[in-house]
């Protein structure tokens, strides 16, 4: 596996950092004596391959000391294939000046606003080339390219630090070419972003510890989906494999097919074929082909993210969700693209017009959820009062909290396809040793009733 990345940050009128990283190595996952072992190295010689393979087997045999049952895998047809993710403008083929020039221009626009203290413009370009071969006969070569970034302005005063960013923090990322960043028009949005950061300092505080209607912008709904649906549908969690760290899941196997996760409005799809999604590929890191299916169907929990081993435990087959964070990490179940599908509520303006009273919350700032994925609390960068169908006063420090199935059960409207965006989470942590995955989450704005807001000490 080879991975090339470049990260650049323009901050407060200076090039704060330009970092490139190149990584190249291989990992071997082996079953011996009915148990798993994994070893990896960056030295790509035949002798080292022999050493690493032997070490993986030695580790597997050590694992067998605690074995309760032999590892059992669901079947997969070994594939021979090549795949490259689509893009219009190869970011690695552009000149450095073209890449950094966009950030310099956007950051300069942020600084035109009086009162901003810290300004940032960031891009990340990322490419992974990987070859998967198995003793079963698979031979799969894939090249995945991603582009991400964004702008942010911070303002401080009177004991407050307020931030506004665009499009979604400075980490909005897709599987795409450089066109992904140019299409967002960072320069054109910079004045508004900076102005809102300063305006937040004198905005009204979010109403304290009360219940009201909440409309979540699409970027916030995508993270809500990631944390409260994407993680609990990971079958390794549900079976206890992550019990000591990432946690387990309230979506236990006995609930599959019958548990009411949300209202009839809620349809959540597992889809590793979605264009642009950070969880899009042709085959996962077990050689299982990309797939699409439902996690939540009209509010009912129906499907997990599965591996070959975990699916076999339920008498099912894998839907291809095993991915490793680089060559030195073992593949584990990761979200692919887990997306809230659009509804029929029209545009965001239509949804606001249809709302008598509530709060619109936009762009995540704080996120936390318990280890079974039930009790969550999120904060966003900005909020607005909604009164009699109109967007009203700006609100600072908005937060909301709830219990996952109660919250999704309170959803009575999801905006239509015209508002649906494939957002991305390029930093999803899981596993020991730690792994960071890139996951996709399509979402449109949605409305939730009777939500507890304003939780701050």
């Amino acid at each position: 596996m080879r991975r090339d990345t470049e990260h650049a940050l323009v901050k407060n009128a200076r090039i704060e950092s330009v970092d490139r990283e190149a990584s190249f190595g291989f990992g071997v996952r082996a079953i011996a004596d009915g148990a798993w072992g994994f070893a990896a190295s960056q030295v790509t010689t035949a002798a080292e391959a022999d050493r690493v393979a032997a070490l993986a087997v030695e580790i597997a045999r050590a694992s067998a000391l605690t074995k309760i049952a032999d590892v059992r895998l669901s079947p997969v047809k070994p594939a021979q294939a090549t795949y490259a993710s689509p893009m219009r403008v190869d970011p690695f083929a552009l000149s450095f000046d073209e890449r950094i020039g966009l950030m310099i221009a956007a950051e300069a626009k942020l600084r035109e606003q009086k009162g901003v203290r810290t300004t940032r413009a960031v891009y990340d370009i990322w490419r992974e080339e990987k070859l998967f071969r198995s003793s079963e006969g698979a031979d799969i070569a894939q090249t995945l390219t991603e582009v991400g970034g964004g702008i942010a302005a911070e303002a401080t005063g009177d004991g407050e630090l307020q931030i506004r960013s665009y499009p979604d923090g400075v980490r909005c990322q897709n599987q795409a070419g450089w066109e992904f960043l140019t299409d967002w028009d960072l320069v054109g949005n910079a004045p508004r972003v900076a102005e809102e950061a300063v305006a937040l300092l004198s905005a009204k505080a979010c109403p304290r510890d009360t219940r009201t209607t909440v409309i979540l912008a699409g970027n916030q709904l995508s993270l809500q989906c990631h944390e409260s649906c994407g993680h609990p549908i990971e079958l390794d969690r549900a079976l206890g494999s992550e019990a000591a760290f990432a946690g387990t899941s309230f979506l236990t196997p006995d609930r599959r097919g019958s548990f009411r996760y949300g209202s009839d409005q809620i349809n959540i799809r597992i889809d590793s074929t979605s264009r642009g999604g950070l969880g899009t590929f042709a085959y996962d890191d077990e050689g299982v082909p990309a797939s699409e299916g439902w996690a939540i169907d009209h509010g009912i929990f129906v499907g997990y993210l599965m591996s070959r081993e975990s699916s076999a435990a339920l008498g099912l087959t894998s839907n291809g969700t095993m991915r490793a964070d680089g060559w030195a990490r073992v593949p584990i179940i990761r979200m692919t693209n887990v997306s809230v599908m659009p509804g029929s509520a029209g545009t965001l303006d239509d949804l606001i017009s249809d709302t008598d009273q509530g709060i619109l919350m936009d762009t995540n700032r704080s996120w936390s959820i318990d280890d079974r994925r039930l009790n969550f609390q999120f904060g966003t960068e900005i909020g607005w009062e909604i009164r009699k169908g109109k967007r009203g006063a700006m609100l600072r420090n908005p937060t909301y909290t709830g219990i996952t199935p109660e919250f999704w059960g309170s959803c009575d409207a999801v905006c239509s396809e015209s508002e649906w965006v494939m957002w991305g989470t390029p930093n999803c942590g899981k596993g020991q040793p730690g792994q960071s995955a890139h996951t996709g989450h399509g979402a449109a704005p949605a409305r939730f009733r009777d939500v507890r807001v304003g939780v701050i000490a």
């Binding site: 950092s17 605690t66 019990a243 000591a244 030195a328 073992v330």
Partner: protein, 451 residues
């Protein structure tokens, strides 16, 4: 197994020779990490990897570029150095950049390397896991967690004459003991696998898990608390992240403009890279000598830490706390210690007439940085304390609490310190802390979950 100073020096010197710039820095991080993970009382992930990372920072006037690679053959080293040099020639100038640090004498620090840890085998780790799983099974519980052994070598070299090398070993056991209606946690960290107290971690988790079954509802609100060291580690971690030059510069630190003022109750937080009971290291990731600092002295904010760039912008001196060159956390206290008090853990509980015993926090995130308000959950062993005794398990809480304000109500500090480590960051294990249990007058629980 370690590579040794000679091997890392050869890598760094090749990079320095191949780069073209006014100044060049090479940082080599070599890691050999093995981790045996278990759940449902059996090993399910068991991994070992050997990684050498080379980071080359090239400076031409006010232009700076950093490239990293893990391709450590002749061609890979030359390529990263040449590419860093080429990139450095075209990046725009950073007018604030003041150059790489000058060399300074590096003091000696206690060794953090134990040969036996470096030589631990997969079988050694698996046998340790088996000990935990068997003990849990014997009490009708399931065990999950990991046993790890790690070797890390760090070398820093620069064209200005800096050379620093330090090896370190760590080993760790984490155990969650899980019953049908409750769980608990234990953790131990050491440099020496021979003295890693796997049994103590296991016994602690099992004993507490047996008490944790069938948690009851307890109303959220402001409660007096006793926090085990695992929870205190989180508080110290968040606060230390704000005790940096960058945090103050960006206006997000609770000590900004308040050095010399009382910011917490009577706790003392130091950064001590020479603590023999911690993970000592004599230099930072710019090759500057490490420096012990008292950050908060009996509640009074005394110092913040710097790398060379944030120090220059603040008009201060670097303190020897640089992380690998990056823009988001360029410096941090890396050898944290909240100084011990005089009360045993049992005495802290006994001193609490009515309150909550918290084993550890989970998924803690900023809500309001400047006020150090954090939200998170309790996890793996939360109990009601009634009349100075652990009375019954309670369902886990969500809290939304200013961490430094919580420390304003310190009622007791534990007499024993636990060595704990953060997960890997920047491809290395750089941050550790030694912390006691704490008894606090009030902690704000803003919600609860269903278990």
């Amino acid at each position: 197994m370690e590579l040794g100073e000679k091997a890392l020096r050869a890598i760094a010197e090749k990079a320095l020779r191949a780069a073209r710039g006014d100044q060049v820095e090479a940082v080599v991080i070599a890691r050999n990490d093995s981790l045996t993970r278990f759940a449902n009382a059996a090993i399910h992930q068991n991994v070992s990897s050997r990684v050498i990372d080379l980071r080359v920072r090239v400076v031409k006037g006010k232009r700076v570029a950093t490239l990293a690679t893990d391709r450590i053959d002749e061609e890979g080293i030359r390529a990263v150095a040449e590419q860093a040099s080429a990139l450095c020639a075209i990046v725009p100038e950073n007018p604030d950049f003041g150059g790489l640090p000058e060399p300074a004498p590096i003091p000696s620090a206690p060794s953090a390397f134990v040969d036996g840890t470096a030589r631990a085998t997969p079988r050694d780790r698996a046998l340790a896991v088996k000990q935990v799983c068997d003990a849990a099974r014997g009490k009708g519980l399931r065990a999950a967690g990991f046993v790890s052994t790690n070797v890390q070598e760090l070398a820093v070299a620069s064209s200005l004459g800096i050379w620093a090398y330090g090896p370190q070993t760590t080993c760790e056991v984490q155990v969650a003991a899980i019953g049908d209606a409750g769980s608990a946690f234990g953790q131990r960290v050491s440099t020496d696998f021979a003295t890693l107290d796997v049994r103590a971690a296991s016994d602690e988790a099992i004993r507490k898990a047996l008490l944790a079954q069938g948690p009851r509802d307890l109303a959220p609100g402001d409660h007096e608390v006793v926090l085990e060291p695992y929870a205190v580690y989180d508080i110290v971690g968040f606060l230390c992240g704000q005790l940096t030059g960058l945090a103050v510069e960006e206006g997000r630190s609770f000590v900004g403009g308040r050095l010399g003022q009382q910011v917490t109750g009577p706790v003392t937080i130091v950064d001590d890279p020479f603590d023999r009971a911690g993970l000592p290291r004599a230099f930072d990731f710019e090759g500057r000598p490490s420096q012990a600092l008292t950050l908060i002295d009996t509640g009074v904010a005394r110092a913040i830490v710097y790398d060379s760039a944030t120090a220059r912008r603040a008009g201060a001196r670097p303190t020897g706390h640089a992380l690998p060159a990056n823009a988001f956390m360029p410096a941090a206290p890396m050898h944290r210690r909240l100084e011990a008090g005089t009360r045993s853990r049992d005495e802290l509980i006994k001193d609490c007439r009515r309150g909550v015993l918290v084993t550890r926090f989970w998924y803690t995130r900023w809500v309001h940085q400047l006020r150090t308000i954090v939200t998170g959950m309790t996890r793996d062993g939360t109990f009601a304390i009634v009349d100075g005794e652990i009375a019954y398990p309670v369902k886990n809480f969500r809290f939304t609490q200013s961490y430094h304000e919580a420390l304003q109500g310190v009622r007791g500090i534990g007499s024993e310190l636990s060595l704990l480590v953060a997960g890997e960051a920047f491809g290395l294990q750089a941050i550790s802390a030694r912390v006691p249990a704490l008894h606090l007058a009030s902690f704000t629980f803003t919600g609860a979950t269903q278990y």
